[in-house]
Symmetry: C2
């Protein structure tokens, strides 16, 4: 279609037909009926539990109008994939609800759909329904994603026990450093390769789907959460749900070369940025000490570093240690309002 | 809490705790884990298929800021319940995604939650997760609703066959007449009881959940759709999906006393309003003539009138007959953009 078209010129059904219909992949199991009826018809194998989550991205809050819509499509799906990964599930199907100003260029929606298609291809999930509406305000995008996991096998936030070792996948804080570059908070000289790396980590998160599934297969994780609100906030969620506390150690934190360079000699304020920045979309999980020897094989299998960063304690609250000295932080985590 | 509080003063977690947590009913089957983890854990019985749908309401498009938030909560859930009803499913669980300006009064959200609670109670569905975000624009509310139905038993839009009789539940067009009163399009003198009835039909739809389930139990419906975009548009969806056409007859249309009074001697323009107004949330379904004798018992069982309004034809397109003469309509159905 011509590039000067808007969503109002093709209408709701044109938009679905033109942009979204081919996101309903035919190679994903369990789709009895996808896009085009009053509801999707889905098959959950009798050996599996269903997982369901939803996340919303709002223009002006989570992205700007000049953000690359293809990256936005990728990210919108991936923030949901990360939630399913944190439960140890295999992602399957999603619903897309999108509110668009009638003047939105059709090309913008086409690019968004390409980003969704790329993430759907990489993580093997199919669009099975949803809805499009007009809005007088910012673009709002809600995805509801469904996954499956063996009966009784989901990894909950509430399973952490005293003595559990705390692990973090990948590296910490790259995403918030990418965001700070993007918004101009950080302006200092920095190698271009490093900047690109950080920006990529912010706009193109890689949910740890294979890791979550491997943790379930090995039956090692006692609890898990994805790091979306910030390490401290999300570890806090696990501790609150499990009725425990945690000690974590900064010298153990897995950092990328770029983050380590940015951190420099590591004053408390800079650590605070990394610990509370959020949108890492890494997995934080706890295991009993007896399972420690299984971790290297899992890390190798899924190709993601897994780093022990601390221990679950009976004493409540999360304590951060910097080479044996307590680090005091006033505030933790992304505020949604 | 005090009534002058806003959502930003309680924050995301306060909002969930205060307004939404008790929507996670404990009497709904299949909830392994509801609100409070990365994803909900749900159990779908092995004898049943899963149904999933989502619908969005946008302030300024689907409701105004001065709309009663309690009625809005009811309606937001019910428009989704209507989709599950159209598939013949039993509704179970839902996710709520809501984007709110930080200045939204907490009392508004409390009232919304009361409306959701009332519909959840009436139709026996539980909130199992979702998300809240800030927005700089209008309030946007997306619900994703899940239901279950016997394996292979969902009623699709695509099953209509030549010779099928077309049935409509309840009465036609009351909702759009209520909307016209609400927005001042219709101002003429009208008995107060009638006005109240029409307004109620608009703001408090009653999804035909029991009817959908009864149609599945009796295995009579060949196709079904809920009337949300307008009778002509939704019948058009069934015909397009099934590769057939339809003849419908105005003299057979089930009308409320209020609609009949408004219609008067029934010119084409007034019929057009009733046929295209939408938001009836009645079920339109087709059955083979051999199943006709089962309809009265179903209507009696669920306490909803079921009226034969026409027949499915091999010839494509929807033709409307007014006492044997064709009614020509230029346009059909609610445009989303």
């Amino acid at each position: 279609m011509a590039n000067d078209k808007t969503v109002s010129s093709v209408g709701e059904f044109g938009l679905i037909e033109h942009c979204f219909k081919n996101l309903g992949r035919s190679d994903i199991p369990g789709v009895g009926r996808g896009i085009g009826d009053d509801a999707a018809v889905l098959f959950v194998p009798r050996t599996q539990d269903l997982l369901a989550t939803s996340d919303t991205l709002v223009e002006g809050v989570h992205f700007t109008r000049d953000a690359d819509p293809r990256q936005l499509g990728w990210k919108a799906l991936c923030v949901n994939l990360s939630d399913i990964a944190a439960m140890g599930g295999e992602p399957r199907w999603y619903l897309l609800s999108i509110s668009l100003p009638p003047t939105t260029p059709l090309a913008w929606v086409e690019q968004l759909a390409l980003g969704l298609a790329a993430a759907g291809e990489r993580y093997r999930v199919a669009l099975v329904g949803g809805n499009t509406t007009a809005t007088t305000g910012p673009i709002v995008l809600t995805i509801s994603l469904f996954g499956v996991v063996g009966n009784g096998r989901p990894i909950l936030r509430s399973g952490a026990e005293e003595g559990n070792r705390i692990f973090l996948s990948g590296t910490l804080g790259d995403s918030v450093l990418g965001l700070r570059r993007l918004t101009g908070v950080d302006r200092g000289a920095c190698e271009k390769g490093m900047v690109d790396f950080l920006l990529d980590r912010h706009v193109r998160p890689m949910p740890r789907t294979e890791l979550g599934m491997a943790l379930v297969d090995a039956a090692v994780a006692r609890s898990a959460v994805d790091v979306s609100d910030g390490l401290l906030a999300d570890l806090g969620h696990v501790c609150a749900a499990s009725g425990v506390g945690a000690d974590i150690h900064l010298e153990k934190m897995p950092l990328s070369l770029a983050a380590r360079q940015w951190l420099g000699d590591g004053d408390g304020d800079r650590w605070r940025v990394l610990l509370t920045g959020g949108e890492d979309y890494e997995l934080l999980f706890t295991i009993s000490p007896g399972a420690l020897d299984q971790i290297p094989a899992i890390a190798e299998k899924v190709g993601v570093p897994l780093t022990e960063i601390g221990v679950i304690t009976r004493e409540k609250g999360v304590r951060v240690w910097n080479s044996g000295k307590p680090l005091v932080l006033s505030d933790a985590g992304f505020k949604h309002f």
